[in-house]
């Protein structure tokens, strides 16, 4: 695989829900080992973009290539080996309530072993591995015995991150990683994400509307607006992009090209 080939390549991605067009021809290249952050307002299709890449939503048109293979044409069974190379941190953690923290952390490892996409792992080995992963995200391994409902929002995010990186994935996705967290915990989570991505050498895509988070996580940032990526650039230019839409969004101005429909 040439270095010039993007790890993830999206072309002409479209998705509509009834008359509402959410994605209207998204083009995106993410190079291997880099982090790309998608910013945009609420309801602009950031989560839909991520879910299309993950195969959770079927796009209406366009292609999504991972290592040069268009995954939109694969069946769910053919997709499984690709999914085994992907880790995902959901917005609210999406931890399984019925399992303990350590079982959550190693769920993907056990599932991949069951499906024949990963090495066999016993419950005892999984528990030890979960402890190491929890330490990696700054948590006491003893937390592994708790239930997810006993954890705070920040701790749930960290457990979600431990679960996402458990299989040492080549690709990581982060859906609003700092939403609902205080600024300090947000910075902690961002730091952990940046650390994990760097240590694993993974390719990452994060979506957020937290500008500080975008700057901390991303090697590149792009803005999704009216179904398209209207701007891409390094995070250092985020507040001085030269694009009036991006500038209005990043500075949080009420006046500008973005019209918010506010009805009482």
């Amino acid at each position: 695989m040439s270095d010039a080939t993007p790890k993830i390549r999206i072309r002409g991605l479209k998705k509509a829900f009834g008359p509402k067009v959410v994605l209207d021809g998204v083009d995106l290249d993410v190079m291997g080992g880099t982090s790309f952050v998608v910013i945009g307002g609420s309801g602009t299709g950031k989560s839909v973009l991520l879910r299309c890449i993950l195969g959770l939503i079927t796009p209406d048109a366009g292609s999504i290539e991972i290592d040069g293979v268009d995954v939109t044409t694969l069946s769910s069974r053919q997709r499984e080996p690709y999914m085994a190379r992907i880790g995902m941190l959901f917005q609210n953690g999406a931890l399984f309530d019925s399992l303990s923290v350590w079982e959550n952390v190693t769920f993907g490892l056990v599932a991949a072993a069951r499906a024949g996409h990963g090495p066999r792992i016993t419950r005892a080995q999984a528990r030890v591995r979960a402890g190491a992963l929890l330490e990696q995200v700054g948590m006491d391994p003893a937390v592994g015995a708790l239930s997810p409902s006993e954890l705070s929002g920040g701790m749930q995010k960290r457990v979600g991150l431990a679960r996402a990186i458990a299989a040492r994935p080549e690709i990581l996705f982060f859906d609003e990683p700092t939403t609902g967290l205080d600024p300090i915990m947000g910075a902690v989570i961002d730091g952990l994400i940046a650390d994990c991505v760097r240590k694993l050498g993974s390719t990452a895509i994060a979506i957020t509307h937290d500008m500080a988070s975008a700057q901390r996580i991303g090697d590149r940032v792009g803005m999704l607006y009216e179904g398209r990526l209207i701007w891409q650039g390094p995070p250092s230019t985020l507040f001085d992009s030269g694009n009036p839409v991006v500038d209005q969004f990043t500075h949080g101005r009420r006046e500008g090209p973005i019209k918010i429909d506010v009805r009482s």
Binding site: L54, L56, E80, M83, M88, N92, F107, G108, H117
Partner: protein, 261 residues
């Protein structure tokens, strides 16, 4: 004229909606059942659900059966005593309990308790992205969540109905002996004489089908719930209502098949 046409159009739409829904449910069930024979198998989930349905539903099913058996005995007595036909009460109780009351009451109790819980659990998993998380971790959500529950429902309800049959008869026995002064040995003899293997077997077959339907409705409505807590609540209600209606419909159909000759 327009009013009549609107009524017919509305009726047609309702029928089409029902047919569409039946098709979706059948497809959902077929996909889930196809995983019964395809590894990997989730034994822990299956065992957990078996315990949840078969063990934790025991108190409610037992009490319902015990009192229902007693009520049948009491009501039969008030009617039959006028014709000096009290001897038939033991036969009436065991017939009613094994053929109908056992499977139907146990099914309705389990639909209310377990069907609702399944729908709420899977619905909550849906609206909190846990089902999507399963997909991202090489786990088929239907195989992991639905298939074990369908199998557990099908296996556990016959066991509960067997317990309900025994306790229903015990309820009738207790009322007849303790309250109506029947001879215990005569009641037992009459019960054994009226006991038919066919009645018990058909009751257990009904129970297996009811268990499958209850689990199917709980899983289907939970799996397709939308819109946060309100959506989960609506799915839970729909699961219990649909399971109860299906259960009574299938009870009639199965009774017609097995006993109408």
């Amino acid at each position: 004229m327009n009013g009549i046409l609107d009524f017919i159009a509305g009726l047609g739409r309702a029928v089409l909606d029902i047919v569409r829904m039946a098709g979706r449910v059948a497809l959902f069930a077929a996909v889930a059942l196809s995983h019964v024979v395809r590894p990997p198998f989730y034994w822990r989930t299956l065992w957990g659900t078996l315990v949840e349905i078969g063990f934790f539903s025991l108190p409610v099913v037992a009490l319902t059966a015990l009192f229902s058996g007693g009520v049948i005995a009491l009501q039969s007595y008030t009617g039959f005593a006028q014709y000096h036909a009290q001897n038939a009460i033991a036969g009436i109780v065991i017939l009613a309990v094994t053929r109908e009351l056992g499977p139907v009451l146990a099914g309705l109790m389990v639909a209310g308790r377990v069907g609702a819980a399944m729908s709420a659990e899977i619905g909550t998993m849906r609206v909190t992205d846990q089902i999507d998380a399963l997909t991202t971790m090489s786990t088929n959500p239907i195989k992991y969540l639905v298939t074990p529950r369908l199998v557990a429902g099908t296996l556990a309800l016959p066991f509960l109905v067997l317990v309900a049959d025994i306790l229903g008869v015990l309820g009738g026995f207790t009322v007849c002996v303790m309250k109506l002064d029947f001879s215990a040995s005569a009641y037992i003899t009459a019960t054994i004489a009226s006991l038919k293997v066919m009645d018990v077997t058909v009751g257990l077959v009904k129970a297996a089908i009811f268990g499958f339907l209850i689990a199917l409705m709980g899983c289907y409505h939970g799996y397709h719930s939308r819109g946060g807590a309100e959506g989960v609540g609506a799915a839970t209600t729909a699961a219990v209502v649909a399971a109860s209606i299906l259960l009574l419909t299938f009870d009639y159909l199965l009774t017609d098949v097995f006993f109408s000759q």
